[in-house]
Subunit: 438 residues, 2 copies
C-alpha cells in the first residue's frame, strides 16, 4: 500500500490504525484486516460486563471548598471524563521504567519549551493521518491544559483591549480566562449550524480572535456546517483576525464523517487546539496547539505553560509504538456501547422527567432539557449528594436565554453502573420535582 | 528519642535525616549516627571523579527563537540547575511502576486541585522538621511551577491596580508576571541586609503584597537580617499587607544556620513558597505554597495551576520513604564540593578577569562582577556560543543602577568538568576584552 501510494510505511500503518480506531475496519487475528460488517453508524449492541479497577466512589471526600469539586469527576456520569477505568497502566509503568533506565536529561531539566520534540512529532503525524491537518512538529506547542493553551494562543494574537468572540452557550471558563488577559470577551450565539457568524459580525466586526468548537460544540454537541466554516474563515481573512479551533473531545465520532477542520481550510488564520485528556486521561495534563507558520517567529512564551517532561516522553513512546491508536480504537468501541446503554437507560428510567437532545455525532456526553421548571443547578447539587456527577447546562450561557438542562457523560461509567446511575438520576429528578411542587 | 521528647517516631527519624542532610551528623554503617567531625562550615575537600550519565552538550540544538534557550540549562555552569546527573532514576522508575500496578484513579483524573493529599502531607512534615514551619496539609497548595505559585498567591491577596513590592535586583520574570495580573509592580532596592523596607515604605506604603527571597536572595545571595525581617512584618501587619516568602533554592546551606523563616514569625501574614525543582529536578514541575489559615476559605483556583498527578504520587512516596531526605543529604555534600571546586577554579583561571562576590551561604550559584567595562549580555552570549551557560546580572535590575556581572552555577556541573569550564569562561572573557578594546 505504501509503495502503491508513495507514502511512508508509518503513514500507511497509521491510516489502517485510524480506520480501525474509527470502526471502519476490523482486525481478525491471523486472518488480516477487513472492512467492518458493522459500520460505525450501526453500533448499538449490548456490551458484556467488565471488571472495573477500584471503586470510584470511595475516593471522594467531602470538599472543603466548592472548587474542590473536581474530585467529583470520578463519580458516575461525569461529563468530559474518558474511560479512566481502561487506562493502560501496565504499558505506562513499563514505558516509564524503560525511559528511567535510559536517564534522559531533558526529561528532568526544563527541556524544550515548545514541548518534547519526540512527542511533537507523533502529534503532527496523528493530525495528518486522523484529521487531515498538515503541519510540521515545529508548529506544535505542548502545554499543560486546555485553558493554558487557549490563553497562550489568545496572548499571541490579541492585545489587551481587543474583542474576542466566544460561543454562547459555551465553556464557562472562557469569559474569566479572556478577561484575565485584559481582552473583551464577546458572546456570540450558537444555532443548529454552529457559531452564528453574522451575529458575530454584527456584535463585534473588528474582533481579533474567535474561539470555536466546530467538530463538537460544547455544550450543545452541534457540528459546524461547511457554509458557516467558510463564512467564519472569510470574516477572519477579510479582517486579519484569527480563529482558535478547539477539538477537545471531537476525536470520537459515532455517526457520519467529520467535516474538514477549519485548519485544513485556512491554515494561516487558524490555530488548532487538541488534547490528550479525552483520548487518554486528564491527569496527564497534556494539551497542544498547532500554530500557523506565520506566527512562529513571534511567539512569546512563559514558563508557566510547560507540561511535565517525563510524561511527554512516555506519551511520545506510547504513540510512536502504535499503542495510542490501538487504545483509541478500543475506546471508540467502548464509548459506542456506553453511549447506547446510557441513552437506552435514560429513555427507560427518566421518561417524562427529561428530554434528551438529538444524539451528538461525537464526544463523550449527551445533553437533556429538564421538565417542570426545575433549576438545573439544584438538580446537579442533588445528584452530587446522591453520588452522581452531572453538570448544569444553564451555567454555559452568557447572554442567550438560559436553558435549564443537564450535561451527562457516558464515557467514564462502567457498563454495569450505567443503568443503576440512570435509575438514581431519575429518583433525584422525581424528588426534586416533588419538593419543587410542595 | 521519640519517647524522651514526646514526638512521633517519624519526626525523630526525620530530624536525624535533616541533620544528616545538613551535614551536622554523619552515619557510619553498622556503628550508628555521630556528630560530624567536619562541620558544614569546613567542607572544602577535593572530590573524587564521577561518571556522568550521558553528555549534556549533545542534546542542545540551535534554538529557533530566543526563548528556546531554556534547553541551554543543560550546559556547564547553568545557574539554578541542580545535579540532574544524580537524579534517582532507578528508584523513580521503580516507584512509578509500583504505583501503576496499584492503578490509582486520582493519578489520571483531575485529582485534588490543592494537590495530591499524600504529597501535601510529606511537604508539611518536611517543612516542620527542616524549616520550623508549622502548617497542616490543608494549607499546602501544589502548583506546576514557581511563576504559577507566585501568580496564584498574588491573585488571592491583591486586586487589579494594587501595588506589589518586588526586589531590585531580582528575578526578571516578576515584573511581567505582576503586570499581566493587572497589578502595579514596585521595584524596591536590596542592600547587604536584604530588601530595604524603609525604601519600600517610602515608594509604596500602601502596597498589598511584598515578594521577597529572604533566605537566599536572587540574584545577590544576601540573607535578610533579622532586623529587616521584623520591620517587614511590622509593615505588613500595620497595613494588612501580605508577604510572599520565596525559598526557591535556600534548601542548601553551606555556612551558618538559617535564620527563622518569615513564616515562622508571622504565619498569618506570610505565604511561603517552596519548590521541588532545586532539591530534585525542574522537569518535575512541582512547586508548592503554604497559605495562611485565614485565607483558606476564600481561595480562587484555576485549573491552570494543576501539577501532574502521577508525578505527585511518585514524589510523595519518594519523600515518605525517607529517600528524598537522603537524596538531599547526598546533594548537599556534592554541592559543597562543586562549589569549592568552582571557586578555586575561577580564582585560578579567571583572576583579573572577574571579581567574585563573597561566597553565598546557600543556594546553587555564585555572582561575579565583570571588569573592563564588558557587557554581561555580550559575555553571556559568547559563553553560549562556546558551550557554557551563565546568566547576565544586569537583566535582574529594574531601577537600581545596573551592575555588569555573571551568575554562575556550580550544582549541575560534574566535578571533572568544572576546571575545563572555568578555563573556557576565562578564554571567553579574554576574547571579549580583546575585541572590546579593538
Amino acid at each position: 500500500l505504501s509503495l502503491e501510494h508513495s507514502i511512508s510505511r508509518t503513514t500507511a500503518v497509521e491510516s489502517y490504525e485510524r480506520l480501525l480506531a474509527e470502526g471502519y475496519l476490523v482486525s481478525r487475528p491471523g486472518a488480516g484486516v477487513f472492512v467492518a460488517d458493522e459500520l460505525p453508524e450501526d453500533l448499538q449492541h449490548v456490551p458484556g460486563m467488565q471488571n472495573v479497577a477500584g471503586s470510584t466512589r470511595d475516593n471522594i471526600q467531602q470538599p472543603a471548598s466548592p472548587w474542590l469539586d473536581m474530585r467529583t469527576y470520578l463519580l458516575p456520569l461525569a461529563p468530559g471524563m474518558p474511560a479512566i477505568d481502561h487506562f493502560p497502566w501496565t504499558v505506562w509503568g513499563k514505558l516509564t521504567n524503560q525511559i528511567c533506565r535510559e536517564r534522559p536529561l531533558n526529561a528532568i531539566s526544563y527541556g524544550d519549551p515548545l514541548g518534547e520534540p519526540a512527542l511533537r512529532e507523533t502529534i503532527a503525524e496523528y493530525l495528518a493521518v486522523a484529521r487531515g491537518i498538515a503541519c510540521t512538529p515545529r508548529q506544535i506547542v505542548v502545554t499543560s491544559g486546555s485553558e493554558l493553551s487557549m490563553a497562550f494562543a489568545a496572548r499571541q494574537v490579541a492585545s489587551p483591549g481587543a474583542e474576542v468572540w466566544f460561543e454562547d452557550p459555551g465553556y464557562p471558563f472562557q469569559y474569566p480566562m479572556l478577561a484575565d488577559l485584559g481582552l473583551q470577551p464577546v458572546p456570540v450565539p450558537v444555532d443548529a449550524e454552529g457559531l452564528d457568524v453574522s451575529a458575530g459580525q454584527w456584535l463585534a466586526p473588528r474582533a481579533r480572535l474567535a474561539l470555536v468548537f466546530p467538530s463538537h460544540q460544547y455544550p450543545l454537541g452541534v457540528t459546524m456546517s461547511m457554509e458557516r466554516r467558510k463564512s467564519l474563515i472569510a470574516w477572519a481573512e477579510a479582517n486579519g483576525a484569527w480563529i482558535l479551533e478547539n477539538e477537545i473531545d471531537g476525536d470520537y465520532r459515532y455517526a457520519s464523517r467529520p467535516l474538514t477542520p477549519l485548519h485544513a481550510l485556512a491554515r494561516d488564520r487558524v490555530i488548532y487546539c487538541g488534547s490528550m485528556s479525552k483520548p487518554l486521561a486528564p491527569g496527564l495534563r497534556i494539551n497542544y496547539l498547532v500554530m500557523p507558520e506565520t506566527l512562529l517567529g513571534k511567539l512569546t512564551m512563559l514558563r508557566t505553560t510547560l507540561a511535565p517532561m517525563l510524561t511527554q516522553l512516555v506519551l511520545a513512546r506510547f504513540s510512536a509504538s502504535g499503542q495510542m491508536a490501538s487504545h483509541m480504537r478500543k475506546m471508540r468501541l467502548l464509548y459506542g456501547r456506553r453511549r447506547a446503554l446510557l441513552v437506552e437507560a435514560l429513555r427507560k428510567e427518566a421518561d417524562g422527567l427529561l428530554d434528551l437532545d438529538d444524539l451528538p455525532e461525537a464526544g463523550l456526553r449527551v445533553v437533556a432539557t429538564l421538565r417542570g421548571n426545575l433549576s438545573d443547578m439544584r438538580v446537579a447539587e442533588a445528584c452530587l449528594a446522591a453520588g452522581l456527577k452531572v453538570e448544569p447546562l444553564s451555567v454555559c450561557y452568557a447572554k442567550v436565554p438560559r436553558r435549564s438542562g443537564l450535561i451527562i457523560g457516558f464515557a467514564s461509567t462502567p457498563e454495569e453502573r450505567i443503568l443503576p446511575a440512570a435509575k438514581m438520576l431519575a429518583d433525584v429528578l422525581r424528588h426534586c420535582m416533588q419538593t419543587n411542587l410542595a
